[in-house]
């Protein structure tokens, strides 16, 4: 068996025919108690918005659990909570996107440490031959953020690009800059 995988190719501009779903940005249904809205804009290296991008998010639930067979911990019953864990939002003409979700809980790293609450993000767009991967962290978790093994591996002067900014009430702002002085930190997955 070859170890080669099928190569990535760009989503192009026409992913808009299939990939956006009406409820895509809703990791939880609108009106879910405790829901937060993470909004932002996707920017290119010239400082122009990227209007043909797609943002996808994946995260733990508020208890820090995943409804997935590879989460080795016993499930915690969610009751009536409708929680998909996954969000998908195409960017608008001004590069804007939003995701409605619940803040994830902290996670065990498996080696005795703790990962601060975070959301994994994939960025797709016309002109991107592969996705770019980043993470959203939370501004009200300074202590856990300081100890987070992934954030600690990021050069200190760039960490702020991964932390959402409070924007009043249940709103958080997270802009994604592909290039420039404030280029978002992207990960090698």
């Amino acid at each position: 068996m070859s170890d080669l995988v099928t190569p990535s190719a760009t989503v192009g501009p026409y992913f808009q025919m299939r990939l956006p779903w009406p409820d895509g940005p809703y990791v939880v249904p609108a009106g879910t108690p405790g829901a937060i809205t993470i909004f932002g804009r996707l920017w290119d290296g010239a400082g122009d918005p990227i209007p043909d991008g797609l943002i996808e998010t994946w995260q733990a639930d508020p208890a820090g659990r995943f409804a997935h067979p590879d989460d080795p911990r016993d499930p915690i019953p969610d009751g009536d909570l409708v929680f998909r864990g996954f969000g998908r939002a195409p960017t608008g003409h001004d590069g804007s996107f939003k995701i409605v979700t619940l803040k994830p809980g902290p996670l065990p790293s498996g080696d005795g440490r703790t990962e601060a609450p975070h959301i994994d993000v994939s960025v797709f767009a016309r002109g991107m031959l592969d996705r770019s991967v980043t993470r959203i962290y939370f501004p009200d978790e300074a202590e856990l953020n300081d100890a987070d093994p992934v954030l600690r591996a990021v050069p200190e002067d760039r960490r702020a690009t991964l932390i959402a900014a409070p924007a009043g009430g249940s709103l958080l702002r997270f802009d994604i800059r592909m290039q420039g002085d404030a280029e978002t930190v992207f990960f090698d997955l």
Partner: protein, 241 residues
């Protein structure tokens, strides 16, 4: 509360040259849209080894047949596109959502931003979805897509292709790719196809014509097996021992 040690699967990194670079000038739209600073290694922990398991109750058989949704039949060559989704260890990936989109037979997408002066087909929207079966198998019925001009460079034409989006079972396995057709004379000129450095990897994007699966008096068949990142068995077993 959440302390404790446990072993998680780890996913193998793609070989060098397997995926296209993000900074690839011959595809002009890459300009300004790739990271310039070093990527930070992301270990595979809980968020990375899990992923959305979507589709139960979402998909019907009708979603995989792009030819029977409208009053009439779409124009063009009817084709069957089928195959298996596997990981690089050769194991099937069952129960995973596949989403596809493509042009019609004339090379026109049904989308307002496509201004190519070729006809739209009222009986074809060019989108489909399927969930892989227990053996990782899937099957679409569609129409042979057309080539179209795209303005990347003088006289630039995209080879006929079908866009594929796959989730796999983990965030690490997410893949968006394009399927091409064997023998397409436009392939040598396509910067997107040729952005993949490794030639063997590039060939994985080309479907294989299957006369055995071609349906007499009805449709040509193309096999397109898709390989996602596999688990590093040695690491997993070692940690479990």
């Amino acid at each position: 509360m959440i302390a404790g040690e446990f072993a998680l699967p780890r996913y193998m990194r793609p070989a060098k040259g397997n995926h296209p670079p993000l900074d690839f000038a011959p595809y002009k739209a890459t300009k300004g849209r790739y990271p310039t600073k070093p990527l930070v290694p992301l270990p595979h922990r809980l968020t990375e080894v899990t992923g959305p398991l979507l589709g139960d109750g979402l998909i019907t058989m009708q979603d995989a047949d792009l030819t029977t949704r409208y009053a009439g039949e779409p124009v063009g060559q009817r084709i069957i596109v089928f195959g298996r989704v596997l990981d690089s260890g050769g194991r099937p990936v069952p129960g995973t959502l596949i989403e596809i989109w493509q042009t019609n037979a004339a090379g026109r997408y049904r989308h307002s931003i496509d201004q190519h002066p070729a006809p739209l087909d009222p009986n074809f929207d060019g989108t489909g979805r399927a969930i892989t079966d227990a053996g990782g198998g899937y099957r679409f019925i569609t129409i042979q897509p057309g080539a179209y001009p795209w303005g990347n460079h003088r006289n630039a034409w995209r080879p006929a292709h079908i866009h594929f989006s796959l989730f796999g079972r983990a965030f690490t396995q997410r893949l968006v790719t394009q399927m091409f057709f064997p023998g397409d004379p436009l392939l040598p000129f396509d910067p997107i196809y040729n952005s993949v450095p490794d030639e063997k990897a590039r060939l994985r994007m080309i479907a294989e014509f299957s006369v055995a699966d071609t349906q007499p008096e009805w449709a040509l068949a193309y096999r397109f097996d898709i390989v996602l990142r596999g688990r590093d068995q040695s690491v997993f077993e070692e940690h479990r021992a």
